[in-house]
Symmetry: C2
Subunit: 674 residues, 2 copies
Amino acid sequence: MIRRYVFGHMIETDTVQVKPAVSEDRIPYFAVDVEKMTFTMPLGPDDRVYGLGENVRGINKRGWIYRSCATDQPYHQEDTLQMYSAHNFLVVEGANRFGLFVDYPGIVTFDIAYTDINTMQIRLSDFNADIYVITGDSILDIVRQFRQMIGQSYIPPRWAMGFGQSRWGYVTESDVRNVVRRYRELGMPLDSVYLDIDYMDHYKDFTVDKERFPDLAKLSAELKEQGIHLVPIIDAAVKLEDGYSVCDEGLEKGYFCTREDGEPFVGAVWPGLSLFPDVLSAEARAWFGNQYRALLDQGIEGFWNDMNEPAIFYTEERLEDTLEKVSEYRGKKLDLQSFWKMMGIWNSMHHSPGTYREFYHNIDGKRVCHETVHNLYGYNMTRAAGEAFGRLSPDKRILLFSRSSCIGMHRYGGTWMGDNRSWWSHLLLNLKMLPSLNMCGFLFTGADIGGFNNDTTEDLVMRWTELGIFTPLMRNHSALRTREQEVYQFTDMDGFRHVLSMRYVLLPYIYSEWVKAALCDEMLFRPLAFDYPEDERAVRIEDQLMLGDGMMIAPVYEQNAVGRMVYLPERMKLFTFHKDGTRDEVVLEKGDHYVPCALTDVIFFVRSNHMIPVSSGGHCVAEVDFDHVQFLTFPDGGSSEYEYYTDDGLTRDVKLDGHITKYRMDAAGAVCTA
Amino acid sequence: MIRRYVFGHMIETDTVQVKPAVSEDRIPYFAVDVEKMTFTMPLGPDDRVYGLGENVRGINKRGWIYRSCATDQPYHQEDTLQMYSAHNFLVVEGANRFGLFVDYPGIVTFDIAYTDINTMQIRLSDFNADIYVITGDSILDIVRQFRQMIGQSYIPPRWAMGFGQSRWGYVTESDVRNVVRRYRELGMPLDSVYLDIDYMDHYKDFTVDKERFPDLAKLSAELKEQGIHLVPIIDAAVKLEDGYSVCDEGLEKGYFCTREDGEPFVGAVWPGLSLFPDVLSAEARAWFGNQYRALLDQGIEGFWNDMNEPAIFYTEERLEDTLEKVSEYRGKKLDLQSFWKMMGIWNSMHHSPGTYREFYHNIDGKRVCHETVHNLYGYNMTRAAGEAFGRLSPDKRILLFSRSSCIGMHRYGGTWMGDNRSWWSHLLLNLKMLPSLNMCGFLFTGADIGGFNNDTTEDLVMRWTELGIFTPLMRNHSALRTREQEVYQFTDMDGFRHVLSMRYVLLPYIYSEWVKAALCDEMLFRPLAFDYPEDERAVRIEDQLMLGDGMMIAPVYEQNAVGRMVYLPERMKLFTFHKDGTRDEVVLEKGDHYVPCALTDVIFFVRSNHMIPVSSGGHCVAEVDFDHVQFLTFPDGGSSEYEYYTDDGLTRDVKLDGHITKYRMDAAGAVCTA
């Protein structure tokens, strides 16, 4: 049951699709302090808290503060308070069981047993929010109710589930061709190459540098023949430049965010001084979305939206002010206090959150300070594109995902986990964020495999790819000036070929489970706690996940490990795929097991009396035969059915009806269509 | 066997005490490239590499680059290359087994299968080094030979093994008194309070602020009556101030490092503009060491040496130069490239490693550029103190430990693991560094419990204390502006009292094992790989340690966990001490076990037919009865002996002779003196 509690007058977020009537009773569980703008409840020692989408720390979020305040945040550390997105949905499980959604466009703080180990406190920035309390029979039931309320998750084209290679640093057409050539020469699968900001003409959105990419349409067509899609980046901000049509038109029509005095607000980002499309205005949003056509017309079928927290490096005013202030320190014998003060002045110039109070949106004719609606920006930039694709490509799905989001955006695109690092701990964080994001409707997600910032190692890329083969978005991506990490930069080509190929073997299962999860408001990745709530060991497991109906994954995430401990909440069959092409199948009983896993082994578990549809692989998704699947099975004395979903991978109107094939497995493991 | 290979002419480090003759054969295992100044060897897939003292990542160091270049480095992350110290000793185990010590005062890089996953490469900054290759029957045998060669490890007074409370932020005598009062009122043990830089008069070494600490001698005496020692910090740099005797005398006698033109080198640190004692000159070292007398005379019996990499925030020249350069960016419409260039200029001003090329030492009358001997600085600052204490306190041990060190310093003091963070991963890093530091001779060590930087949580402090009760240095320490983390800041006083008390219960065992390890050149903490080299599972365990002869520790290091998996390399008995005062003893077979461990439980394992001497506890070390010990036993069908070491805890001349009591346990577990 969903109950809605209204506090003040929320600025509409368009997150909830069908709003229940307002509850007139007092909000349960929480003590409300209107003055302090807080909701407070005690947590029992065994209570667990799940959700909050993209955030650091555990699957169980107890023990830290999380701020919903979209931030260009390259430090994903244990002490990180806020990341790129605002995902204000959580579920408490323990003495009480309920879901909580804070529908609110501003900054929210979730203190989950940080300040006091026995207390959860939620704090708003003003008291205008709709709060939804959801009760149900299980965590999964609560999540389903929430997902039904917020609308169906975005489903990208099927090719977007292929392996993609990216790097901030492919600056010419020949860089791109080289990537494709290397993968193809090595007989390795690849479905897409991502273009980071360098493809643009001076970082101008919707332009292409004519010297470095003389004919994008031709390049795109050529690569498509090899089964490769080009996926360019689009940044939120529009370069301020006379004669640049997007800038000129947006200025003329008043489609950019404004300063207090009504003049266009200017901030510096990659293109230098830039304007910020007012995507919270329906008209500006439609206009910005239409700009994507410039690239669609060149054969582009996928995009990633970036820098849409929005990131603002500095404003000219603050830069000048800072330079003036620090110049006053010249020629003085500073004491340390003055030195630190000067350092503080300098450091507040860059990425200053104060900037968010300096510009305004036009929402239905009302001027609204950006900070008040800050978390809606990335959502609405991506919504602009998503809505436009509905008009511009009414039949065919377009790939779209975004760095910043809030719940609601899940209907328009996916999200990647931002600018992570080449850390083993981020491989595990990748795993932990999958179910939290799924809870919030983000099914098309994944992290930068190998890590974006910092230098990676061969073994980290290998192990991370072994997780990546299971995540809907599977992209190897790295930053300028870091070690190159395309898999061909390393030594074990057989190993990488083997691991990458496994993605394509598993695609029938992953795609089928993924679309069913999207259409039925289910989670693709689930903590063991959600599937085995009565199992005291399972509810504490933080490094294994259920994937779809029949599979459990437990990747290796520690350097130099040659195996790992796995907890089985029930009898399962372990599949181990070795790089020499052989595979082992071992049935393991409920309980703890040490599972050997060599650096190039792919392992996963299949539940008792379940079956996993697989293909014989392919070098790109188009080569995968989704219509004639084989099955990895664990017959265990019973019979079972699998509802296999498949489609053409492109049609926008996705539905189960007419796309399900039922397979039946008998007690001996023989599978036939039912 | 130890073989010594000489390359060029090393500047003497005084690390090796008895040098073996120079080997005339070619160095084994490695290909030497004189041009590139590298030593290169292939690593087999199963080879493991141990050692390198204070560094990030695993017990097995494979898969990263480690630079020996002492640095004030508050970012202990997976991508961190260098920390505060230079510990150039490692052991390779696998296809070959040998130890390697690079006796060298300059910057060394250890690329351990980072650039190429199958190769180890060591690179020097110039080719003047002594390289020692040590072979032996086992890793432990190799470590013992190395330790014998470098001389006996420092042994502090026994009270230094009590629990200490510290915070950068106790600025007055009453702050200190308040800490003591709170612990005593709560009936919690405490042995020391650490003074960070604020006790000094304007951060001047060897001074005391007369307003905030009007009578340190009196305070010290008063606290000693409550069993509490005050332990002040000493920073490396000396404030440049006319009339400050240390500055005046050092300048007059030429005891400070100099610039190229021979004038004293000045850099800014906490006191503002400061001078750097030339502790590499024997005369200056003796002079600097004698300064500690100012505090010894006030009853102080312990010190921690800090900022001795040496940390240098900036130099006036570089600051002025930077301010001038960035001022040129005023009034210009910057493009992003110019902006990043300006940011780069600014960022290179602070903590610039270039500064290390700008000053010089006087070593036996020869002027030597600091960079060439950089890693000797912290070592020799601490040696200055240690040598002075031998003169000033010839009978009584003085507590001394240092942030920066290189091997050699282990004879004069311990080391803490630097400015860590309130991260769960740093709790585990603390565990992992213990054996690496032990290998290099540093037995008196530990990390800042609860984490120094960033805000901690109650459960992190609790779990970290549960590891801290086993580490020789057991100190809760936190930084200015972070959450206060004395245990009384939290909720569960019974829990903290219980965990802290366990330290005092275990002290007879820890002290006995520790002194024996120091006197016999053994490791107190050992990876399971060292004790069970034939056990394939044990050699990969990265989160458990052997402690002394009879104990294995396996603390919980994950938030919200209520237990953990533990691998037993042999049959052991699990002891669980609950906060209600009860304890469980369970015998577990060799293999994997899930061990429940509530937030306030203390757990450890005792080996078959072993016994652990314990006390009934105390509120400070002086209250612990070391002479009448009881035993925690695991009689398992055999009899066994324990050689229990104890002494008065103070006498400088530490020896086994006359201090060992032999206890015998029979098959039934009855213990009597042998």
